[in-house]
């Protein structure tokens, strides 16, 4: 038999490692190699095929620790096996594998009694991204407090800031990950949760905020002026009082989430 080109060999090997003996190329690959030790040919290919599954599963387990905790080992590994077959890795960095896992969970909706799984996975991916994000330099609080009201002011949040909204109490669930549980997860998860995540002093902090506050932060993050963001929030949430606004801005100042202030003098 003619020797395979490197390219053809790599195609055959890759298919066999992912699809096992179901792959059409499997017999041809077996013909090209000599198994190591006292392994059989299929067992030798199995060493690599198993390694792929183990590594990708470990990567998913590391990132989606809380999803694993909620599902339990058996269901989590069934899910990851399905995901790995459906979405092979295209990233060079193993730790970046799994970005589509939240959407996959939404699509397959594996457990109707756990409707929050997609959001929980989305939160874990976001948390990982934030962990690897450089902490920005914050605008000093006294600079913010000296701003005058007769100007249009926009805040630009730093890169180490994230906003996260879910219909479910994702943060409450996530905080409990690792604690022993049997059956349903112990947290009261069936209510919305709105979160501000940010880095300060090289640590990640997570603040739960109210609906009106979240709408203001979202609007500011999208580049709206303070005036407009507050106006929209007050219209949508009539109970959003001056005291609430004051508390919100105290929080904004002290979390250090603002990286830049744009001031346009009022005409």
């Amino acid at each position: 038999m003619d020797r395979l080109t490197l390219k053809d060999y790599q195609q055959l090997f890759s298919q066999a490692a992912l699809e096992g003996d179901q792959s059409e190329s499997y017999p041809r690959l077996l013909d090209t190699l000599t198994p190591g030790g006292t392994l059989t040919g299929p067992d030798a290919i199995g060493v690599y095929a198993n390694g792929v599954t183990v590594r990708l599963t470990e990567a998913l387990g590391e990132t989606f620790e809380a999803v694993w905790w909620v599902c339990g080992d058996e269901d989590f590994f069934a899910l990851t096996k399905h995901f790995i077959q459906a979405r092979p890795s295209t990233t060079y960095n193993l730790s970046k594998y799994g970005k589509e896992f939240p959407e996959f969970l939404d699509e397959v909706s594996p457990f109707p009694d756990l409707p929050f799984l997609g959001d929980l996975a989305r939160y874990e991916w976001l948390f990982k991204e934030l962990f690897h994000t450089k902490q920005h330099e914050s605008v000093a609080p006294d600079r913010i407090q000296s701003l005058t009201e007769d100007a249009t002011i926009r805040f630009r949040f730093g890169q180490a800031v994230r906003l996260f909204a879910s219909r479910y109490a994702i943060y409450d669930l996530w905080k409990l990950r690792g604690t022993p549980h049997e059956g349903k997860p112990p947290a009261e998860w069936d209510h919305p949760q709105l979160l501000l995540l940010y880095k300060k002093d090289r640590q990640i902090y997570i603040n739960e905020v109210g609906e009106a506050e979240f709408s203001v932060l979202t609007a500011l993050n999208e580049g709206q002026s303070i005036e407009r963001a507050l106006h929209s929030a007050v219209e949508a949430h009539p109970n959003f009082s001056q005291e609430h606004i004051s508390q919100l801005f105290q929080m904004v100042f002290h979390t250090g989430i603002i990286q830049h202030i744009e001031i346009t003098p009022s005409s």
Partner: protein
């Protein structure tokens, strides 16, 4: 990227996140340098990179990758090379290395150090890819021999002939993993000394030492154990003629406390001393 002559054994250990809290306290250690896994830092601006930069203030650092895929018939990922270069420029490592293997296809990365036949087809692909990397980085790289669980009959080259040829023709150097060499000798039934003696000393830029797992039907490169006596013997054989080559203790799974790694480093140091004379033990134990 070459190392300067050293009157002391250049023994290092792998930098692993599990040891960050210990190393954060900046203890005196007996290791002379650290090897960092490239991919752990090239996509991060968070704590891992801060830790690496902190370590770099006190120690020489080598960057060791697992995803270059130098044997890829599809060519190299430009994004990977760009990020690698950025990290190299930032950390200024004294060695940049990866493995003589491929890791999968671009649309299905297997994230493993995969075997390939030692053919002229592969040789040409590898030489082209090394040229791309070394030009991109502006420095020489080292490539490591990997453990394999299959081999390919009727290849024109043995593994050691191929490794040497690639190094000679590309200008890269060899990261000689003595554990991998031993694992392959058992899995593929050859004399490890034949391999060891065939690799020219001047092409060896670094040595790796690690532990394997005996799976009954083959040896598996797990990096989850101490270095075994057979591997220490081979190390002794090679270090006798390569005193200036930096040596690294690798331990990637079931990672022990840092002082246990230092014990392995001291064993390597003792073997070095048995060939090249005693070093100033006090200096060795306090060098940073």
């Amino acid at each position: 990227m070459t190392t300067s002559p050293s009157p002391h054994p250049m023994i290092g250990v792998g930098l692993r996140p599990t040891h960050y809290p210990y190393l954060h306290e900046r203890p005196k250690t007996c290791v002379r340098w650290f090897e960092a896994l490239t991919e752990n830092y090239m996509d991060s601006e968070g704590r891992p990179l801060e830790m690496l930069e902190s370590i770099r203030q006190d120690y020489p650092v080598a960057l060791h990758g697992v995803s270059l895929s130098i044997v890829s018939s599809e060519g190299l990922r430009s994004e990977y090379l760009q990020r690698l270069k950025r990290l190299v420029d930032r950390i200024q490592p004294f060695i940049v290395s990866d493995h003589l293997c491929w890791t999968g296809l671009q649309d299905a990365n297997l994230h493993d150090l995969l075997p390939f036949p030692f053919t002229d087809d592969a040789r040409q692909t590898i030489l082209n890819n090394i040229d791309t990397v070394q030009n991109s980085l502006g420095c020489q790289i080292l490539l490591e021999n990997v453990s394999t669980y299959v081999s390919f009959p009727d290849c024109p080259y043995t593994e050691w002939e191929f490794l040497t040829l690639i190094a000679r023709e590309s200008g890269c150097h060899i990261l000689l993993d003595v554990n991998n060499l031993y694992v392959n000798s058992q899995n593929h039934h050859f004399d490890p000394l034949t391999y060891l003696d065939a690799v020219p000393t001047e092409l060896i830029g670094q040595i790796h030492l690690a532990g394997y797992s005996d799976m009954g039907t083959y040896l598996f490169d797990t990096h989850s154990k101490q270095v075994y006596p057979e591997v220490w013997q081979l190390f002794s054989h090679v270090i006798a003629r390569a005193p200036e080559v930096p040596v690294l203790i690798e331990w990637d799974d079931d990672i022990p406390e840092f002082p246990r790694l230092e014990e392995e480093a001291k064993k390597a140091s003792n073997i070095w001393e048995s060939h090249h004379g005693s070093t100033d033990a006090q200096r060795l134990s306090t060098t940073v």
